[in-house]
């Protein structure tokens, strides 16, 4: 449904490429999570794929259409919601959706019918005649998705759709996105990894404008599967003494001094478990917690980006 190869973007006056040869492939009717740290090139990629920005190199196809700056035929097949939904604040919710429907070529009655359906789907029927400028952040986001769906898009691009929302708003929007999956391919950029774990079928992680990894969610977990040991020490002295000992051992670990916590990553977790327990008992370190757990997407992300 989406394919891009060697996509490049260099902004005017900038010597560094925001995108330096990005390759991606997204299957039909999936929720695709597009991850990367801030400045990795997520928004640039979306702007290119939606025809809002010209790439400096490479090519891309979305829903069978070649991606070009002013391609109207491409934009008939896509829906887009930016990081912060920017809509005509002077319009009312229903009025905006009817306007968008007409922009997509629907008749007045078709537009009204679809607008009401979308408002219902977005849970905004009661606010249909309220001015958009009076909408809350969560309502704006849901209206943003509703307007992006007005043209019955084959691909829906969502640029960090939940980043500005409170936990309730986030939950609502994620549930809404999941409902759309049957008919639409969803390309969602985010840096909220728990959202990706919750709704995405496949994931790509980019960094410095390049693809680091792309795979199905379960494959990614398998490929980078590692167990972790998390130890929380009772006192800071025990924590620091433990660190002094393990520092010389070249282990892969993450420290959190504030919470006296150390997280150790390894494939050979059993060996590490015994070694850790030996050190703790030999030095009589007091601990609050000793836990073995599976690494999540967050750990995969940190590992790959580091």
């Amino acid at each position: 449904m989406i394919k891009c190869s060697g996509l490049k973007k260099q902004y005017k006056g900038d010597s560094i490429y925001a995108l330096s040869g990005l390759d991606l492939s997204v299957e039909k009717n999936t929720v695709f999570g597009f991850l990367g740290p801030n400045g990795a090139g997520k928004t640039s990629t979306i702007k290119i794929l939606t025809g809002m920005m010209k790439p400096s190199g490479g090519e891309a196809m979305v829903a069978g259409e070649e991606v070009k700056l002013n391609s109207v035929s491409l934009r008939k097949k896509i829906g887009y919601l930016g990081q912060e939904p920017k809509m005509y604040g002077w319009m009312k919710g229903l009025e905006l959706l009817v306007f968008v429907g007409k922009v997509f070529g629907f008749s007045n009655s078709e537009s009204k019918k679809r607008a009401n359906e979308m408002l219902n789907l977005a849970g905004l029927s009661e606010s249909a005649n309220k001015k958009i400028s009076a909408y809350s952040g969560g309502m704006l986001q849901r209206l943003g998705i509703a307007q992006a769906l007005m043209g019955k898009p084959e691909v829906l691009f969502l640029d960090e759709p939940t980043s500005a929302l409170d936990p309730i708003g986030r939950k609502e929007v994620l549930e809404f996105i999941l409902e759309l999956k049957q008919n639409t391919t969803i390309f969602m950029s985010t840096h909220i990894l728990s959202d990706v774990e919750r709704i995405c079928d496949s994931v790509a992680i980019i960094d410095k404008g390049q693809l680091v990894v792309q795979d199905k969610m379960q494959n990614l977990r398998k490929r980078f599967a590692s167990k972790q040991i998390e130890i929380v020490f009772e006192s800071i002295d025990s924590f620091l003494s433990f660190i002094d000992i393990v520092k010389g051992m070249k282990w892969d670990f993450i420290l959190n001094e504030e919470y006296r916590k150390i997280t150790i990553n390894s494939v050979d977790i059993d060996r590490f478990k015994h070694e850790c327990l030996n050190i703790i008992s030999a030095n009589i370190f007091s601990i609050d917690k000793f836990e073995m757990k599976d690494a999540g997407l967050e750990d995969v992300f940190v590992k790959l980006i580091r």
Partner: protein, 254 residues
């Protein structure tokens, strides 16, 4: 029945102008000058006479005619009117870029050419409507204060004034397309109008300056033959603003 996209965009522009009160302001300005101009022409001699009363000064002021009323309207619109039109038009495209609504609309199947054309045309129509309101007000008040007058002549003058204001609007919208924000667009439009005024004093080229349109409107009051050059110059400026505006906006990246 499918909707016509261009009409949808024009309709959106009208609604936006109405709800943001910009249309009301424009109508109010033309209505105000439509009332004030004949009033000023009629009572100015009396005002001046009363000011010098008792000062042993004799001022010979010819009696005001309907031509003075129209002349006053042209003067007011070509000065204050221009300034207000720049202020109201400078955000036409720049404001949409600033607010992010240009990106909102242009990620939908709206061609950039159509987007820009709808901006120019809707602004011209709104100006025409405001101008018509000003015209009718002047007609009404001039009839009241001065009796009969040549409505055809005034229609011609209004048309010339309208062309001049379309030039102002075209230049302002052009800079609104070029600039990221509306204030620089307004400043550049204002400076360009000053520049056109300066160019108008240059020999052979100067006669084509749209600034001469104001003189042309005064010339026809006195039944003299009009010069075609400022009209040609204005047409070139308007066409250039629209075509270069469209061309520039084609490569704009949100």
């Amino acid at each position: 029945m499918k909707t016509n996209l261009f009409l949808v965009l024009i309709n959106k522009e009208f609604t936006e102008q109405w709800r943001s009160s910009r249309l009301i302001i424009l109508l109010a300005v033309f209505l105000f000058f439509g009332i004030v101009s004949p009033l000023t022409a009629k009572f100015m001699p009396d005002i001046i006479s009363s000011m010098v009363k008792g000062q042993n000064i004799t001022i010979q002021i010819p009696e005001a005619t309907w031509k003075d009323a129209i002349g006053q309207f042209v003067k007011n619109i070509s000065q204050m009117g221009v300034f207000i039109i720049i202020l109201l038009s400078m955000g036409t495209v720049a404001r949409e870029k600033e607010n992010g609504t240009a990106s909102f609309l242009l990620v939908k199947p709206v061609s950039r050419n159509l987007f820009i054309l709808s901006k120019f045309l809707s602004q011209f129509i709104l100006l025409f409507v405001s101008m018509a309101v000003g015209f009718l007000t002047v007609v009404l008040y001039t009839k009241i204060f001065f009796g009969t007058f040549s409505m055809i002549l005034f229609a011609k003058i209004s048309l010339i004034l309208f062309i001049y204001l379309v030039v102002v609007q075209s230049i302002t919208i052009f800079f609104s397309i070029l600039m990221k924000t509306q204030i620089p667009a307004g400043i550049l439009a204002f400076m360009t109008m000053l520049l056109l005024g300066l160019v108008s004093i240059l020999g052979k080229t100067g006669v084509y300056s749209p600034s001469h349109l104001i003189e042309e409107s005064q010339i026809i009051i006195n039944d003299a033959a009009i010069n075609w050059q400022p009209f040609a110059g204005s047409l070139i400026v308007i066409i250039c603003c629209i075509s270069f505006g469209i061309r520039f906006f084609r490569n704009w990246e949100s």
